[in-house]
């Protein structure tokens, strides 16, 4: 049985077991890389697709907050002694497959905010009780902004479904994008997830999070009369 530990500061992390330190570093690197890559491939390009100045500046703010999340995770990583190169796409960890989707329209971006940011909320929620408190606190700071991004998706979904054409285009975007999402939560037998839970860095298995996401995504889609395509759920 592993002795439960609480790490309150970055300084204290130096005294934590190596497995714990490596696990925390993996999470920080993953968040730093993926927040940045998501902003680069989705949020910033979406500004050009936004149909009005209101939507454009709202998207600007979302993009800047996503870049800001990268900055915060990277700053924590630097304090932990992680080289900056490891926290930047292209030089470090490979970004997640959900970012391989080639963004082409405003409706696709709305679908991404509606569903991918919900997935992101679940990931951040799982860190809200993290035993490494600097990471827990960062998750708490990030959460209101992630909720705003998902609300952005809902607000523009509500706009788009006002017309039959808008609803059909959004549904097509969901059908195309949604299959990328279940694998976002990682493999069913992930060794990393096992270690995260062993040290109470994260709380749930990947399959539990994936199942929760499927429930919540189905709820939010049906709220707007939209459906999710059938996808293979095990990664």
């Amino acid at each position: 049985m592993t002795q439960p530990i609480i790490v309150k500061t970055v300084e204290e992390l130096k005294d934590a077991p190596e497995e714990y330190r490596e696990a925390v570093a993996k999470l920080v690197i993953s968040h730093a890389v993926n927040e940045l890559y998501g902003a680069q491939v989705f949020d910033e390009p979406a500004i050009a697709y936004a149909p009005t100045p209101y939507a454009k500046w709202l998207t600007c703010r979302v993009a800047m907050e996503e870049y800001g999340h990268h900055v915060r995770f990277k700053q924590l990583g630097v304090q932990m002694g992680i080289p900056e190169e490891r926290m930047i796409p292209g030089t470090g960890k490979r970004p997640l497959s959900i970012f391989e989707f080639p963004l082409k329209t405003w409706e696709e971006f709305v679908a991404i905010k509606l569903l991918a940011d919900l997935a992101e909320i679940l990931q951040v929620e799982d860190l809200l009780h993290c035993t490494f408190h600097p990471l827990r606190n960062l998750a708490r700071a990030t959460m209101p902004e992630e909720r705003f991004h998902a609300q952005f998706g809902e607000d523009f979904t509500a706009e788009l479904i006002k017309t039959a054409e808008g609803k059909a285009t959004l549904q097509a975007a969901i059908d195309e994008y949604f299959p990328y999402l279940p694998s976002f939560f990682g493999g069913s037998k992930s060794r990393n997830n096992e270690v995260f839970r062993k040290w109470n860095i994260k709380q749930r298995t990947n399959d539990e999070m994936r199942a929760d996401f499927m429930t919540r995504a189905t709820e939010v889609a049906s709220k707007y009369g939209l459906t999710l395509p059938e996808v293979r759920q095990a990664a």
Binding site: P53, W57, C60, F152
Partner: protein
């Protein structure tokens, strides 16, 4: 990616100080004065937008209605974006892509939180603002700082982004163009 060279941070530090001293959103809805009109004219002229009149948006609901209108002219947005791309390319050549990007991101993250708070204060003071509009205002203000940072790092100290920033610094928010009218909030 361009080779890394030492990034001169003084222009960004100066801009950060200017942004911290600015009267973000403090004059929204107030009657336009001569200085506002002069900066609005300079802004329109610098973007070669032709002869524009300037008018005031009086409150948040009016501003929101204008910003959501499909009648808005994309000319201002498109010209700013074209200019930003040119200036960004020049700045990257001068300073190295990654170092510049990192410095700009840290600046806009820092200032983004400042202007978000200022927009929230203005919205609470005036009332009737939609919740999302605070984010919209913060997006517009952060974008103005980012654009000016890019211009100055490209060595351009006479770009349209100077007069745009002056409008924000004086408590205004340039909303955009409808027909041949530049609308200031």
């Amino acid at each position: 990616m361009k080779p890394a060279v030492s990034l001169p941070l003084a222009p960004l530090d100066r801009l950060r100080a200017e942004a911290r001293a600015a009267s973000w959103f403090a004059a929204l809805g107030e009657p336009l004065i001569e200085g506002d009109l002069a900066d609005a004219e300079a802004y329109g002229n610098a973007l070669d937008l032709g002869s524009l009149t300037t008018r005031l948006a009086h409150d948040w609901p009016e501003a929101e209605r204008l910003l959501k209108s499909r009648d808005w002219s994309p000319a201002l947005w498109d010209r700013e974006e074209a200019l930003r791309r040119v200036l960004l390319g020049r700045a990257e050549t001068l300073h190295g892509e990654r170092e510049l990007w990192t410095a700009l991101t840290e600046l806009t993250t820092d200032i983004g939180e400042l202007v978000h708070g200022k927009a929230a204060t203005a919205a609470a003071r005036m009332g009737d603002a939609a919740k999302a509009s605070v984010h919209v205002a913060a997006g517009a203000a952060s974008q103005a700082v980012y654009q000016l940072a890019v211009a100055r790092m490209a060595g351009d100290t006479a770009s349209p982004f100077e007069s745009k920033f002056r409008l924000f610094a004086a408590g205004r928010w340039p909303l955009g163009i409808m027909g041949s009218t530049l609308i200031l909030f």
